[in-house]
Subunit: 290 residues, 2 copies
């Protein structure tokens, strides 16, 4: 049998046909048109699905959160204008006749890594995705641990220091405010006195700039504390680091690990880079199909 | 069938005969004689076990950590003089002919709460024991989550703020240094200028003392951050609070919850007091027997 994986993003929507071994047979990409509703955007994906000739077992969707997983609803993700309250699971099931599963983008990426990527063979996998935001997933014995309120592995909101800065409702002193790409951007913009992206911050660092060095010291220290706190809660077999920051600056992950080991009582922990880059969302979404 | 539960403490050792429903049929208590080795101390427990007439399935032991669970060894707990490196599991199996299981005291207490106490009926249970130290357990689908290095649910070492104080190797800014009974004692002793126990600190608080109030504000704030961090990692169905501080000052747990809710995105979380007090160790140890 075959399955459809869908990766919803703020600027584009992707869908793919995958076989049972999670090979991507073909894929489809379209813009996320912000002048249209979520349903109208998904209609283009639905036309792609209907064009598929293979027998389909179901559809898996990865979407930015917050989501209501029990009801299959996109709640109000800041990057998905026009998608508020969209009952995406019901809509897809009605329009395609295929059973549909939904989960957030970080969980889906973590599932792809745990079952088909860098975490294969480990019972307990923590995925940490560092890009604009900071996403996470905890996969135990092959299953995502969502928790009672679907807040399991929402590492972005974990508190690691006394910083007071608080952005859009994430906790002050949380990983989102101290270790994410957004945090890098804020600190760089503040201290350089001009708008600066994480990419530009790293460029300044590579030129030997002391301010950039200091900022990355602080963000890596915060993330190291996050790794230690994950260690002292679930002590996973492996930590998979994904997301653009992790993928483009592998040495940064080494710095995080070195700092984390100062807080960790074990002789060593296993940190590995994600195997998937862009395709994690498609593969992980397809893995939701049961 | 019946089983033996053993609770090892710094000042006393307890053992009990339990039936399959974890009823304590009879129990035995003896001092932990610090002039003797661990083996010599356990010999009194072994004599009790040999006096039991009922058919026995095995022995479960809860001990202060650190332990080497894979080898069944007591490593070097600060409160167990003379027990360093004691191969307790092998010793008990050789002397009694009964299969023996070992786990740390907080895990054992958490298991008792999850399977027979305040956490019954929930899939995912976080146990937080606040007494001199700060112990934890994470029970998922009836099983203790130990993690790759047996550091799962070692919440005492979770980092929640920038405090610099560091005691006996726990992390600076960790729950052990900011929220445990030891932390209360340290802060009270520093600020009152005289040696003061957590019990005396609470007595000062009940008299309306402002310094005591301030200290408990700080310790409850630190613990609230710990609860939030557990929430954003495993989001358990229920948090069971045990240990002397939690049991004797239930209002304090309400304060912790109220502060934690400021950091938590869910509408509510479920915090309940432990059901067991002194017997958690015996019942939980017996539950290790498979």
């Amino acid at each position: 049998m075959y399955r459809i994986g869908i990766d919803i993003g703020g600027t584009q929507l992707r869908a793919a046909l995958l076989d049972d071994d999670m090979n991507i047979i073909d894929s489809f990409k379209t813009i996320n048109d912000r002048s249209l509703s979520g349903a109208a955007n998904m209609d283009r994906i639905i036309r792609y699905i209907k064009s598929v000739d293979e027998p389909l077992q179901g559809i898996g969707i990865g979407s930015p959160g917050p989501l209501d997983l029990k009801r299959g609803v996109v709640v109000n993700p800041p990057n998905l204008i026009g998608w508020d309250g969209f009952e995406i699971v019901r809509y897809m099931e009605q329009k395609t006749g295929l059973k549909t599963w939904l989960d957030n983008d970080a969980n889906v990426a973590g599932l792809a890594e745990a079952l088909r990527g860098a975490g294969v063979g480990y019972e307990s996998v923590a995925f940490i995705g560092i890009s604009t935001g900071l996403g996470g997933a905890y996969v135990y014995k092959g299953e995502l641990i969502h928790g009672a309120h679907s807040c399991g592995a929402e590492f972005y909101n974990m508190i690691v220091n006394d910083d007071k800065y608080c952005h859009k409702g994430a906790n002050p002193g949380s990983l989102n405010e101290t270790a994410s790409g957004t945090a890098m951007q804020r600190l760089a913009t503040e201290r350089f006195g001009r708008e600066m992206t994480p990419k530009e911050l790293f460029e300044e660092f590579y030129k030997g700039d002391e301010t950039a060095k200091k900022i990355l010291e602080e963000t890596s220290e915060a993330l190291a504390r996050g790794v230690a706190n994950i260690f002292y809660t679930i002590d996973p077999d492996v930590y998979v680091f994904g997301g653009s920051v992790a993928i483009h600056h592998p040495w940064y992950m080494d710095v995080v690990k070195k700092k984390a080991m100062e807080y960790i009582t074990a002789d060593d922990i296993l940190i590995v880079p994600a195997k998937y880059d862009d395709d994690a969302g498609l593969v992980g979404a397809a893995l939701l199909v049961k």
